[in-house]
Symmetry: C2
Subunit: 459 residues, 2 copies
């Protein structure tokens, strides 16, 4: 059955247009047409003010949302750092059960959709029970993630994680890490089972693979993982923290991005998460590879990681997208704003990531659309026939957009506004956010509140 959207203003591949009718059939855009005015739109069309292709959120660890607001203290007698945060994560890991993971993920996906994201790359490493005991179904946790995606209608690219060792020296897993660990055979089995569960979510759902990092996966395993699922996305954390850069340099005699580019055929299947610490050659090498740099600016600021070298990377035609990672804040406009603001503070300049022709907001949003779609292996990211109808409608009456038009609408949203401007979201044609609220929010929020209150009380 066809459904139609009628938009007063829409961002099409060749620019802004007025009075645009978008037809969707089975989740895909099947036609885009322009009418003389609103009266010619079909009576049953959903009418919106400003229609944009919706972003993919390319990097999420849904369960980490449970920790939001609980890790902003300094460890006793120490200069707090990333590693203190990591210890609290491990304390959570002694408790989290599958039902809690499903409840948290569902709330996280509701909030992503309400923020204007249509899809998510779930980088999923919490496979087993406490102590590393496998569930009856080794892919139990992936099944829970699939259930959360199905409940919320978000487009998912599930990324089961291979976490094979406790450090780049090949030491064994210990403590909280035991919940993540698999050997290669176990990982292949788990990924097959996860893919079967994910397939039931919807025709647009996908499964990729995620070797966790150069700390957690050795060269041999990395090579094996690459050929595990032909043509599927491959995501990996890289060069997030300086300590990690020092560790990889010590083990392999090269910094992480340099080392990875040497040993693997990094291409458009790859998404390198963070890539914060790169020298000029690494920046240009990553750009040339065609891979996506998966930036998570809010989390990277919260964790004190550092600032990505955006200006050089875009100058070398590098591809990028954004992810909400730890989900400490799920806020699309703020995510993009934080990315650009970091560049400004670093470069002591304005509009650093703006193109020569387009505004900063338009350039950033366009880059994140293309990079997000590529990273998720998802035919989306444009209002274009044949691809998934991942769409977001903004409120033309929002105060932050008053008197603005064209690219300035994106600037107004990203730099002066917030996600309350988002009115409607479609994910592969599923109209799950209406008038700013997810259609199943109340039920999902109640389950989340109960899970989170229990979890936090136990700490």
């Amino acid at each position: 059955m066809a459904t139609d959207i009628f938009a007063k203003r829409a961002l099409l591949p060749d620019g802004w247009a007025r009075n645009i009718q978008v037809r969707m059939v089975e989740g895909r855009i099947t036609s885009i047409s322009q009418t003389k005015d609103a009266r010619q739109a079909p009576a049953e069309a959903v009418r919106v003010d400003i229609l944009l292709p919706a972003l993919a959120n390319l990097h999420s660890h849904a369960f980490q949302r449970a920790m939001a607001g609980m890790t902003e203290t300094r460890g006793p007698g120490e200069q707090d750092s990333f590693w203190t945060w990591r210890r609290l994560m491990y304390r959570f890991l002694e408790r989290l059960d599958p039902a809690q993971v499903e409840a948290i993920a569902a709330q996280v996906y509701v909030e992503m959709l309400e923020a204007g994201y249509a899809s998510v790359g779930e980088f999923h490493y919490l496979h087993h029970g406490p102590g590393g005991v496998s569930y009856d179904d080794p892919a139990e946790m992936s099944v829970r993630i699939a259930a959360a995606a199905a409940k919320t209608g978000i487009g998912i690219t599930h990324l089961p994680v291979l976490y094979a060792q406790g450090g780049s020296d090949g030491r064994a897993l210990a403590g909280g890490q035991l919940r993540f660990g698999t050997d290669l055979d176990g990982f292949a089995d788990l990924t097959d089972r996860a893919a079967a569960a994910i397939t039931t979510v919807g025709p647009d759902a996908k499964t990729g693979v995620a070797p966790h990092s150069l700390r957690a996966v050795g060269v041999e395993a990395l090579t094996a993982v690459q050929s595990l699922r032909a043509d599927a996305p491959i995501h990996m954390h890289i060069a997030e923290q300086r300590a990690e850069v020092v560790e990889i340099l010590g083990t392999h005699g090269a910094t992480p991005v340099k080392w990875l580019l040497e040993i693997m055929d990094v291409d458009t299947r790859w998404c390198l998460i963070h890539a914060t610490h790169m020298d000029r050659a690494e920046t240009e090498g990553l750009a040339r590879s065609g891979a996506v740099a998966g930036l998570c600016p809010i989390t990277e600021a919260n964790l004190g990681d550092g600032i990505f070298n955006g200006a050089s990377y875009l100058a070398a035609d590098g591809r990028l997208g954004v992810g909400s990672d730890s989900n400490v804040r799920i806020a699309l406009a703020e995510e993009l704003r934080t990315l650009e603001n970091g560049q400004r503070l670093q470069g002591k300049a304005r509009a650093v990531l703006a193109g020569p022709e387009a505004s900063t907001g338009r350039t950033l949003y366009g880059a994140a659309l293309a990079g997000g779609a590529q990273a998720l292996g998802r035919a989306s990211g444009a209002i274009e026939e044949g691809i998934w109808a991942d769409l977001v409608a903004l409120d033309g009456d929002a105060l932050a957009l008053a008197g603005l038009d064209g690219d300035a609408l994106l600037d107004g949203w990203i730099f002066a506004g917030d996600d309350t401007i988002v009115k409607d979201v479609w994910s592969a044609g599923r109209h799950v956010v209406r008038d700013g609220r997810h259609i199943a929010r109340d039920r999902i929020e109640a389950a989340y509140r109960s899970a989170i209150t229990d979890l936090r009380a136990e700490l």
Copy 2:
């Protein structure tokens, strides 16, 4: 007449407490008592979940809100910078009239109150009509600011600005600057008239003085301004942009903060806005002076100014507060989060501004309470008898606060939440935000929308 608030949890000077009753008479807190439980609270008390002293927003240029979202492009053929932004501001200045300034300021103050601020320091330099023609009342624009404050109930410290020259070399004013300019006699007259208008706003309203910057005010004028209003706050922009640091170094042979500390008796009356670029001696000198560093993290990021040296400054017991400056975003939690996040990205660490005992959110909020109150010369910043009842109540049912208690409530608000958590705000006892909305929002927003749409259409 006495009115009462009953709070389930409240942040008192010696820490968190439960079942707290706060009595207000004529805008001041007159008693604070603890009851055994909620049943003993007076029936007519306003019941709230979490009660905090409300922050002062120590630096605002209300009219700049009109530009939000319009300046995120790069100038043709140039690396955009602060100075491109400044040119657009001057284009606005060819158009803005007093009624528009009042409409914009009223909306800005509504949003500040809704964000959880109880008071504002309005750094006011737009005195005259286009071309520098004085209005019939030379303080016309201050009268408009007073009217906006009165309409909204915000606590105001009005800071008329002395803008005497076009650069630190003493050159004459030109172009858009003509609307700002006064000589010393004119400034004294304007300030007296402004103070008379501000006095009518409320018993808590104040007038200070603001020599604009070392670029716009010479040494002689600076000295004269300091003695113009005994005991009143003195605010000044300083060391925001590198170009400014270079200019002052060229003119006076010293960087701005160093130069100011040499020539003036900078003490607790002073608030130095930005103070972004300081070496170690300047950082320590400013801390020793007892003045407040007025930080505007969102604006400073948007303008690419740079990152304040927060860790060294707090280590030297420096005082700080926050302001929304350009008002591109009026967002209290985000303002504090942006301050800390900048420190984290700079220092590659977490919880940089946290105290040894308190969490980051508690430390930041506490510092901004004390610094904001001092900078505005306003007896406020604590739930304490005898001072103005500037109070904010948070929604205990907010999802971002679920399962949190004590200092973590502030961390949850600042790092994981946003200002939708704010339920009620009192400014000197005026209960102007109820259930998250300002009591006069609809009327004020309509006037703002009309003003902004007209203004932007003319550009």
